[in-house]
Symmetry: D2
Subunit: 270 residues, 4 copies
């Protein structure tokens, strides 16, 4: 839940849960400097979610937004281009029940990763993008994603900018991994930009996709130390490991409903 802060919010919520016989196993709350309240409560017990929600809305002041997420695997679609490392990482986690989601399909603008996807018995859809007219491709992507009834789209190094309509439809549910420590090196070839600037750490950023390129709410970031010895190829190699770890962590936070977006920033109850 999130909304403007009022005195007694935690008390009101926990009373309703207590009166309905729920047991709270974990409770996290945060009040921002501007007086905005965020709370995430994990609880167990036998109760009709709709009854609980109604009871909560009755008790709480107006303006509070509630979401009730049953413990249920999200259905995701992966989008990739040619790089295997993020895809491979997610496929392995999926195969060994380390991803709290079902991977419904992989969509790519190239064929190159089809054999890897095939190893894990997941449908692969090749949707080439014509640089002169991207509309047909993105219509097909939209159709595929909607057909799958996906909860979430993961851009695991998909080197195309999604159309605004899809971003909007799946607002807060499209996750991207960018291969730089944002806001440094927005856009194309960030490792080349990093090499030119001579930075001593390179990084990766997992964020929600919004219309503005690489400017959406950041979920997770990390860096790795480099030295003058590391040329662009070394950065690419070292960066891959950071990218896949950052994407895995950020995605896990999302899949476990630990992320609340507010004011283009995230509250992550990790």
């Amino acid at each position: 839940m999130d909304g403007p802060d009022y005195k007694g919010l935690i008390f009101l919520v926990t009373r309703v849960l207590f009166e309905h016989g729920m047991n709270i196993s974990r409770n996290d709350e945060y009040v921002s400097p501007s007086g905005y309240f965020f709370m995430r409560t994990e609880f167990e017990g036998e109760a009709d979610p709709d009854v609980l929600l109604s009871a909560l809305y009755r008790e709480l002041p107006q303006g509070i937004r509630l979401r009730m997420n049953p413990k249920k695997k999200k259905q995701i679609v992966l989008m990739v281009t040619k790089e295997h490392h993020c895809l491979g990482e997610l496929l392995l986690r999926y195969a060994y029940n380390e991803l709290d989601a079902d991977i419904l399909a992989v969509i790519s603008n190239y064929q190159v990763l089809a054999p890897l996807v095939a190893k894990f018995d997941i449908p692969f859809h090749h949707v080439p993008v014509d640089p002169k007219d991207k509309t047909p491709a993105f219509d097909e992507v939209t159709r595929l994603v909607n057909e799958q009834q996906a909860d979430c789209i993961v851009l695991a190094r998909y080197m195309q900018i999604l159309p605004a309509s899809l971003c909007e439809e799946y607002a807060g549910r499209v996750i991207n991994i960018h291969h730089s420590f944002l806001p440094s090196f927005v856009g194309a070839r960030p490792y080349h930009q990093a090499a030119t600037r001579g930075v001593k750490l390179i990084g990766a950023t997992c964020h929600y996709v919004t219309e503005e390129l690489d400017a959406g709410p950041i979920i997770e970031q990390d860096v790795v130390r480099i030295s003058h010895r590391d040329n662009v190829e070394d950065m690419v190699r070292l960066g891959k490991d950071v990218e896949k770890m950052v994407l895995s962590r950020g995605l896990r936070y999302h899949l476990e409903d630990r992320v609340v977006v507010h004011d283009n920033k995230t509250v992550v109850f990790a």
Copy 2:
């Protein structure tokens, strides 16, 4: 507060606070795998702490332990031997109101750091320790600490083992910085031990002192990367920076009442 977990604990506490007009600014809770409950609540409002405590104890099941800490600077005594880095760090933070405590005095078994302490106008007590009979020295240390009515003793690289009686009297209030990543390299000359073993990271550990050497509850740890090039002198140099940072962070958690000790481990609501 901490104690065995019961259904409704958060509700019961927040109800009492709400009924007394308190406003919760931050609430953290944790239930251990063994079913032990920990909660730390920051709240504001006009109320008699004793009245609040009584009301809470009336509501809560038996076995729950409550502590009410008013927002008030703790009074601390530092103990050092010859190394300046942890002492200097704490003195600077103190001088610029970055330490949530008053430094009442510095006690040392050597004179060497007296000039540094003098720069910051803090009393310095030289209590040499006779290796053949340490009792008189520790009697004097105990007397000094008690005289100061210190809330907390910080061993900022004090290279003597405190007597059991003092550890017991100040249980949970004596903080040490050990210059290794415990439990590796307990005891003397940990950097020499690290050099002999050929580790690739060295570290520091801030922990509560208990009777058993370097075995008390760990509050904070950190490491720094080294390579074969770093000999013992380099480790000492690099380690100093980690030691003072780890001590500063661990001490801050303690001074802000963020640490709960249970079962020789710490819950740190950082």
Copy 3:
């Protein structure tokens, strides 16, 4: 090369290389505090390696040990038990030419990872170990490894102690990943040990296997921060990511001939 330090060693080596028309692309040297000299030189050019070696040995003082490693992929055998994460990581790197080695075979004391290995078309050998008499199993392992003419054995979470004879035969060529920050938590169930001790960071160690358990020369280590919230299952999950990264890095150093062992420690020209 490594050996006792003498004045002029770099000069002598570079002169021989220069006189044979070699071009040095990278040169690293290190002199230990005890006066032991290490140097690693990457060079290019047309020359008979044996002629070069003879010329170098003629020039250099006695006691210097030279190794000439042509740029050639090493042949490795992986050994695993039931955990997939290190194996999966190495298989993916291998499949995409990111491992400077050929994986000849995977040997396991269980069947559970056979399907994963099959995805990558690598021979899988199931050699169960009878806890009452391990000799037949290890005889079979030795036979398999020798048959493959492996340059290197990688224990990618193989939960058995290799027999001394195999360790000796492959001294300096058996690499293990241990799931703790050694020398802390040697032996079995290190994450349980870490949970009991209440450490704030957990780690992994890649090291050469010697007869003494978890005591061989350390190639690479890393850690990840945990909090009181992370129980043993969380540590296992977080630790997996560290383990596979540390093994990948350590193995890369070995495969690229960047590691020199001396005095049970490593010099790593990373």
Copy 4:
């Protein structure tokens, strides 16, 4: 030394040193992808530096730049505004011989840090900067620095932009600490910028000052993890620790002649 790469450079240099009876204690070299050669050689022995330099220049191809730095403490001037943490860190290191330099003087546009400097018996010069006409102030700064015959100027959180003339005169010898992970958050109030963008790590950058703001060659960087809980004040607090550590490390590299600048980037033989 640095310059275009030629076959035999290491050989030529080490031959000259060998023929003059020098003993190399450490040698580092690097060839950039564009074929530029860098080498740093530590050696000991009795020889006239000028004779050595002449001999080296005679042997080496044209275009190679040599610098011979005797092991001698550099003379530095610190410039600060109101923040004590970087200044205090350097003063403490200086007081305990952990800074390979003499601090000649501290210059500030405010009086606030005078008492801290006085504790360490170092001259403090208050040179207020009139925002309407900065010229007189910077003339005075230039006069003071020149009078001191400083080897190096350290901007330890000096919140003014140095005039181009001074930057040019001391090119490669003015070191700044910027409180962000450059190139993110150039200019004023980087922690506010970081809070607005919602990054998950904040950092600091030690770099040589050039005419373009915060765009000079980077010597050292580091980051610290933050969460949504950390508001701007928390970032400032956490950032201070990173800033002083990054400045200390970067400055050490400079003072020990480990840094070579080329193409607006640094080679750091750490």
